[in-house]
Amino acid sequence: MTANLVRAVVRWARGKSPWLLHFNSGGCNGCDIEILDLLTPRYDVERLGIIKEASPRHADILMCTGPVTRQSKDRLRRIYEQIPCPKWVLAVGSCSCSGGVFQGGSNVLGGVDQVLPVDLYVPGCPCRPEAMIDGLVRLLERIE
């Protein structure tokens, strides 16, 4: 009975306060600065319980930006493995959805789904902060 209660609380907390880890696997930085923008006063996602974490061990959601380059493929996978379950992957921006404008580049493998299972794709070049928040909310609805 207590175990069930704890599980229910954890599930509620996870849905109400997801912690994000951001990794750029080869993007131009456009989506990255818009992700950072989420934390700043205009968008302020912290009021929604979302904070950006520095360590994969603390994160619930991996927000990926940029196409996956050959050099960053292994790091991306390793970071994903270090995030404790349950975990979700959000592909933010056209490049992490599909490789975007860099498709065909000599060092580019494609979108994040070439390497990791993606839970939600949020397109845009760059992806607007409003679209990212929308994506996060949809993901949270799915989590709960």
């Binding site: 380059t69 050959r70 050099q71 000599s106 060092n107």
Partner: protein, 144 residues
Amino acid sequence: MNFDLVLESLRDALLLPEIESRPVPIDERFVQIPPERLREAVAVLVNNLELRHLSTITGQDTGQGIELLYHFWHGNGLTLCTTVPYEKPTVDTLMALIPAAAFYEAEVTEMLGVTFVGNADPGPLFLPDDWDGDPPLRKQNAHG
């Protein structure tokens, strides 16, 4: 930049009676130097003329060999051009004269397969550790 002085200094120091040069937009003069005299030419610029700002080194496969363009700036643009043959794509390093040449030469090495004799750490700089293809900017790889 006193371009006539530059040409005269190069002619005198390299003992070359004629040095081909041509104007190039936007504000540039391209000067032809044989590859085996390139380091001497740069020594003249750096030591005699205080002409030290190397913006970058462009390498390109022209079909007739690998052309190297050393883009300098001193009030106006000055580019030293030289071509190395496919059979022996080597030229001396400029690192002792201009430490900035380190990265620019390393990039030309990995992208075009040119060897800069004396550059102890030629990379890889941008290409991944597991790059197994030919230098990506060589003509036969241009549409690979």
